[in-house]
């Protein structure tokens, strides 16, 4: 029996899929529709002193005809009256008692934190998320990422929140730092029950090259916004995993950043996330994407003999290693399956211009290129550019050398295999 329910930092939800604190979780009507569609939880659009927004607010990165691979926004926190938000949180929680409603908060003074936390809990919040991550607008006012970039301030405000809260407190971290670990540890020291990451990345999404104005355009100007969407997933995975593998970091992680489907969610869970939060893909495609996420995750768990999410959490963390601990003697070469090769020669040009010049035209005149394995360094580039799945495979070569890491080579004098392609 597959059980998708999660228990992230003490917050229970029927599945690990939460709406991130963002436009899709702006109102009670929206969140309730999302729950009807299958979402397990929602982090309410950040509450604080309501703001006024600009237009336009969003920009997107389109790549090769695929729209919205990356996305950014210069929207701020809620612009709706607090009492309306609290009323809707109350109604939502009453209608959906088993779903998780987490309220994202961003205020300035200790007194303000105390008051807004009380009102949130009174409205029925299952948990709080402290928005220390917003990288535009609010940080100019001393909030959001201005807090998240200062571990001492992060720790102090977290400790206030934990003091006033009777429900779990998550700290949402900003990726706009050189190393995420001190910031996660600061939240932990402040008593946070978990962290959510990543918030958006400082970015300029593009430039209107006819008007000479960056995007998104507000009249004759623009401003840097928060970058998100599918394209940020690798950055988010790295940051989440950096915390997950740190020996001193002990609290749960709610993963955020470029999650579009169940596969992305599985990746975050395997790298240590207990729940996952989604915004951009919902903005682009709607709440209905969760149907596939639930089915896909369930089937994945079934095929890998997982019964609970907890069994999956962090499964890939031990394999995330330092470069110096990688086996230098592990050797692969590329192999081309002539049967499935379509003769596009993309591997050949990529290897020629971007790698090690070891893929050559076939001397027998067919369009299936040949690989000079004595020169192939096993870099993967050909496999990456090949449009046919499984046509190019990276196959292990038994070179007779015992596994040896760089650190072992340096510290213990162990033997490395001869370099390939270095001449």
């Amino acid at each position: 029996m597959i059980d998708l329910s999660t228990h992230c930092a003490g917050i229970r939800s029927p599945n690990p899929f939460w709406l991130a604190s963002a436009p899709p979780a702006n109102s009670g009507a929206q969140v309730q529709r999302a729950f009807d569609a299958g979402w397990g939880g929602a982090v309410w659009k950040t509450l604080g002193q309501p703001i006024q927004n600009v237009s336009s607010r969003f920009g997107a990165l389109h790549v090769g005809g695929r729209r919205g691979v990356g996305f950014n926004n210069i929207e701020l926190i809620t612009d709706r009256p607090l009492e309306v938000n609290f009323k809707e949180i109350y109604e939502t929680k009453r209608k959906y008692p088993k779903h998780a409603v987490i309220v994202s908060l961003m205020v300035e003074t200790r007194e303000e934190w105390k008051e807004i936390i009380k009102r949130s809990i009174d409205a029925g919040a299952d948990g709080l998320e402290l928005n220390f991550g917003c990288p535009h607008g609010m940080c100019e006012r001393g909030m959001g990422s201005a807090v998240g970039q200062e571990p001492r301030v992060n720790q102090e405000i977290t400790s206030w929140a934990v003091e006033y809260s009777t429900v779990p407190v998550l700290v949402k971290l900003t990726p706009n730092v050189s190393d995420i670990v001190p910031h996660g540890l600061a939240a932990q020291r402040g008593g946070a029950h978990g962290v959510s990451l990543i918030n958006t990345i400082k970015s300029i999404i593009g430039v209107d090259i006819d008007r000479f104005i960056p995007e998104p355009r507000v009249g004759l100007q623009s401003s840097n916004g928060g970058y998100c969407g599918a394209a940020v997933k690798p950055i988010a995975l790295h940051m989440a995993a950096s915390l997950a593998r740190h020996p001193e970091f002990k609290i749960p992680i709610s993963g955020i950043g470029g999650i579009c489907n169940w596969r992305d969610a599985v990746e975050f869970i395997l790298l240590g996330s207990t729940s996952v939060q989604v915004c951009t893909e919902v903005m682009l495609k709607g709440y209905r994407i969760v149907e596939d996420m639930i089915e896909g995750l369930t089937e994945y768990m079934r095929s890998h003999n997982f019964e609970t999410i907890d069994q999956m959490v962090g499964k890939a963390v031990p394999a995330y290693s330092d470069w110096g601990d990688l086996d230098m003697n592990y050797e692969t070469v590329a192999k081309i399956n002539a049967e499935s090769c379509i003769g596009c020669n993309l591997c050949m040009v990529a290897c020629d211009d971007g790698a090690h010049q070891c893929i050559h035209p076939n001397p027998n005149g067919t369009r299936v290129p040949v690989i000079d394995e004595s020169e192939c360094v096993g870099c993967n580039l050909c496999q990456i550019v090949c449009p046919v799945e499984s046509c190019i495979t990276m196959e292990r070569v038994d070179n007779g050398y015992a596994p040896t890491t760089w650190n072992q080579f340096v510290n213990e004098g162990k033997t490395l295999r001869p370099k390939k392609g270095a001449h």
């Binding site: 090769g64 005809g65 596009c344 050949m348």
Partner: protein, 435 residues
């Protein structure tokens, strides 16, 4: 300059078979292209257009660069985009076919880029510095146009001698109107002539109105871009009845003027090549209720492209396979085609005579070779009616080069464009004293 076409022509009732791309469609298709290295689509194109490059330029909104890439290889890129049998050339060799994925619609993308260039009035090439040399081009079809344009890029003066009133050859008079209409071809001719320095003499048949020897006096080289001659006749009883046309002759009339058709019930096309298939689809397009192709072989033997026959079938064409016409009947005009069934060895089977009702009969069994005018030119060799040349178009007669249907016996426009350009480069080398 080319003569004006009447606005009302029989061909104007046809709509585009493949249609043009909207910007959104073009971008979606362009973005699918894998940008193959040493791409098979280029290798199979007679003019070797760098297809992946021009498609990538569409995808990045560099339409001017895209059109330049096309025209740099093939100055007739606009018409070729419409008339090329891409199914058996670039599109047919797209690697996506190997994957079982629909191939890139290269012809439609090429049309998108080149139409855009025409609409914007972009020109890409200038005549080279005057070389002081002059070249005669015999025939004003695609081969001569491609050759003349290339020669102008090298600074050689050009004179085109064309026996018709219009230039463009079969692009103007022979292309199926659902692929391209005559006015578009004429527009392309004007655009090519826009490079300047190409004198045009229409209504002049070389060998009759002016002799080759006179040409040799006026010009330092001669390019033979002559096409094919009139439709081959069946030489059957009743073939002179009104309503029976050679297919090429009929298509030319349909494209250049308005043909009065007394009845549009039944059209019979005789033949199984690409002209026959065009004629079948044209019969349907003109509004005939029944169009039947009568061919002595089977579908598998047909020299016409299978994709064209499939399209014709889809439009409602029928075929009488292994059937041979033996005569025509009618009072005052054709009313019936008499035919007989053939066995597997194409021998008539006695007692299998049958008739097909017909208001229009189009005979598409080939064209004669238009080379009798070339007889007597010493050194110029003909084989099976085709002008013999080296790979670059150089003939056995000094200063004479050839390309297009007269050389290859009747191929595609893109072959003529490629041969014309190759010959121009050979002429340039010759005029420089290099060969």
């Amino acid at each position: 300059m080319a003569a004006k076409l009447p606005a009302e022509r029989s061909e104007t009732v046809f709509s585009d078979f493949k249609g043009e791309y909207t910007r959104e469609q073009a971008l979606a298709e362009a973005n699918r292209c894998l940008f193959c290295h040493d791409a098979p689509c280029i290798q199979v194109c007679p003019t070797e257009i760098n297809i992946p490059q021009f498609i990538r330029k569409i995808a990045t909104d560099n339409l001017k660069g895209s059109a330049r890439t096309i025209f740099d290889s093939n100055i007739l890129g606009m018409s070729c985009a419409r008339v090329c049998p891409v199914e058996v050339l670039c599109v047919g060799d797209c690697v996506y076919n190997e994957m079982g994925v629909p191939p890139i619609q290269i012809g439609k993308l090429q049309r998108y880029a080149t139409d855009h260039a025409f609409d914007k009035g972009w020109r890409f090439f200038e005549a080279g510095p005057d070389s002081g040399k002059s070249v005669a081009l015999v025939g004003g079809g695609p081969a001569s146009l491609a050759a003349a344009h290339e020669l102008r890029r090298h600074g050689h003066a050009c004179t085109i001698y064309e026996m018709r009133d219009v230039l463009g050859g079969l692009n103007t008079t022979g292309v199926a109107p659902y692929k391209m209409k005559a006015d578009r071809s004429v527009e392309e001719v004007e655009w090519i002539l826009g490079i300047g320095g190409i004198e045009v003499k229409t209504g002049v048949q070389v060998g009759k109105d002016i002799s080759f020897l006179e040409l040799e006096k006026k010009h330092q080289a001669v390019f033979l871009g002559v096409g094919l001659g009139p439709d081959t006749r069946l030489k059957l009883p009743g073939e002179d009845l009104p309503g029976i046309y050679g297919a090429v002759d009929f298509i030319e009339k349909m494209k250049l003027e308005r043909i009065a058709l007394s009845s549009k019930k039944r059209c019979v096309v005789i033949g199984g090549g690409n002209t026959a298939l065009d004629a079948v689809r044209e019969g349907i397009g003109l509004g005939f209720e029944h169009t039947t192709m009568l061919y002595r072989g089977t579908e598998a033997h047909m020299s016409g492209y299978l994709h064209e026959w499939r399209a014709a079938q889809h439009e409602g064409a029928r075929a009488e396979w292994r059937a041979l016409p033996i005569g025509f009947e009618g009072s005052g005009k054709v009313e019936r085609v008499k035919a007989i069934r053939l066995d597997e060895n194409k021998k008539p089977i006695a007692g299998t005579e049958f008739t097909l009702d017909a208001d229009l009969v189009l005979v598409a069994i080939g064209q004669s070779k238009l080379v009798e005018l070339l007889h007597g030119l010493e050194g110029l060799k003909l084989e099976s009616g085709k002008i013999v040349t080296e790979a670059n178009g150089r003939t056995g007669r000094k200063g004479y080069f050839a390309g297009g249907d007269g050389r290859n016996g009747g191929k595609e426009v893109v072959n003529a464009a490629a041969e014309g350009k190759a010959a121009a480069l050979a002429i340039h080398a010759y005029l420089q004293g290099g060969a």
